[in-house]
Amino acid sequence: MQRVAVVVFPGSNCDADTLDAARAAGSDAYYVWHRDADLKRADAVILPGGFSYGDYLRSGAIARFSPVLRAVAAHARAGGSVLGICNGFQILCEAGLLPGALMRNARLKFLSRPVRVRVEATDTPFTTGYEREEELTLPIAHGDGRYVADPQTLAELKANAQVVLRYVTENPNGSIHDIAGVCNAGRNVVGIMPHPERRNAQVLGGQDGARVFSSLEGRNATQHAGDLRAVDDRHLRV
């Protein structure tokens, strides 16, 4: 069982759904208030969606100076798993933990509806449960979702296969290269615009998002299996 810290900022509004989704996947999930610099021995940290600090100045620009972000940055530097969903993605970009930035949707409108995305990377802590190139239906709900990055950053993203999710069939917000989610070079920090916590059960219209959370537990199970093999000398001699 993984310990999953869900960070709550003033203006977060997807924190409860995110906590529920992590618990439904079997994790020991709990809230951490943004003024708290202690992640309480978290294995993974999730920055949920919402409108931290009212999106003042720029989405995520003020939240990145919360005390908890220092702890999140240290956790990320140590290789710990971090997921930013929507506003959480914006905060991770503003904090420099992920490359690029998220700007106003190309057609200005706030978009709240399901979209189709393709999983492009399955070697992050939050996507191991998916098949590469698997297509998902996940809801988006954002006004500032247009991913941008300079040409050098885009070349690095491509060279290192750091695009995690890509919009398919339509690009709702004008993101460059249809990018809906990216990870850092170390692959432990992931940011996505769609909301997997809003699509993790049939009662919510589908469960394409559930494996974002169960991937954490699946990875744990794999590690345990590895440990067992390591103490089983028959396997070791193979």
Partner: protein, 83 residues
């Protein structure tokens, strides 16, 4: 120490799409101002800053822009310091 007024102009980088500016341009054209070839929308911030000199106020303002007031990925800024 004396008080300086720092005016910061933050603009979306020229190469990037500015949908807000474009929407304003379309609205102006709808009002009959067809002569408007383009609009770009940015932010104007006015800060009262205590500093030993005008130069120090300018240096501090640039640090503020680099760290918070502008996003280096998407925006350019200019600072003007006046007493």
């Amino acid at each position: 120490m004396s008080a300086f007024t720092v005016e910061v102009r933050v603009m979306p980088r020229a190469a990037l799409l500015d949908p807000q500016g474009r929407a304003v341009q379309h609205a102006l054209q709808a009002l009959g101002f067809g002569e408007v070839a383009s609009v770009r929308a940015g932010k104007h911030l006015v800060l009262q800053v205590q500093a030993a000199s005008r130069e120090e106020a300018a240096v501090k303002a640039r640090m503020m822009c680099d760290r918070l007031l502008a996003n280096p990925v998407t925006e350019d800024y200019e600072c003007n310091v006046s007493p």
